[in-house]
Symmetry: C2
């Protein structure tokens, strides 16, 4: 694996409330984003909470994607961590933002991995 | 779910090289850390790469724990994201650091969630 990784921490606000509570939609968008961005999906787990909210995790060969939603706040926290050169994290991020109809996305990019300096940059 | 979450980004250096490449040890320590800290494990996935390295993800009711290791660099990247009051992320962090015999841990704590200000603090 590459020794420097990219971790995108995404705070997605003003999203579509119904989509944030639709576990099937969330699963399709996260797997779709991983595939489109060149990732090899190893495993996945998606869970619908009551009364609302979804948690999803996807293990990819280049690391992981996670999502946690708060439909009542129209907010989702998303993480995309990758250390491969084939996976394009920013492509995955764009697809997720569009799929949730997010009106106010913010992304912080952190370099991680054994040869990184773990610097955080607002994207 | 609580509207403010804690995300610990852990850069673990000078760890035990053999333990970092032992997928069974990594799985036991991550599940054990989640249990000890009060988490309810919903799903798990652990993968051993060739020639070396392990990736693991654990979905918990309060969010997720992830680990990616680089045994040849004696390094692991760990994430603990929780939004529940019952789960104690710092307890989980301590157990993971001890279990990997990490000599140089650094932790950055970020508040996330719909009501957070997404501030990062070195712990």
């Amino acid at each position: 694996m590459n020794a420097i990784g990219t971790h995108l921490l995404m705070e997605l606000r003003v999203c579509d409330e119904a989509l944030l509570d639709d576990v099937r939609h969330i699963e399709n968008l996260m797997i779709g984003a991983a595939d489109e961005a060149g990732g090899t999906v190893l495993a996945r787990s998606f869970h619908k909470f009551e009364p609302r909210g979804v948690t999803g995790i996807v293990a990819i060969a280049e690391s992981h994607l996670c999502i946690h939603t708060w439909p009542e706040h129209r907010y989702a926290a998303v993480d995309i961590f990758t250390c491969g050169t084939s996976f394009k994290p920013h492509e995955a991020a764009k697809l997720i933002i569009a799929s949730l109809r997010c009106g106010k996305p913010s992304i912080t990019e952190i370099q991680r991995g054994p040869l990184s300096e773990a610097k955080a940059t607002a994207v």
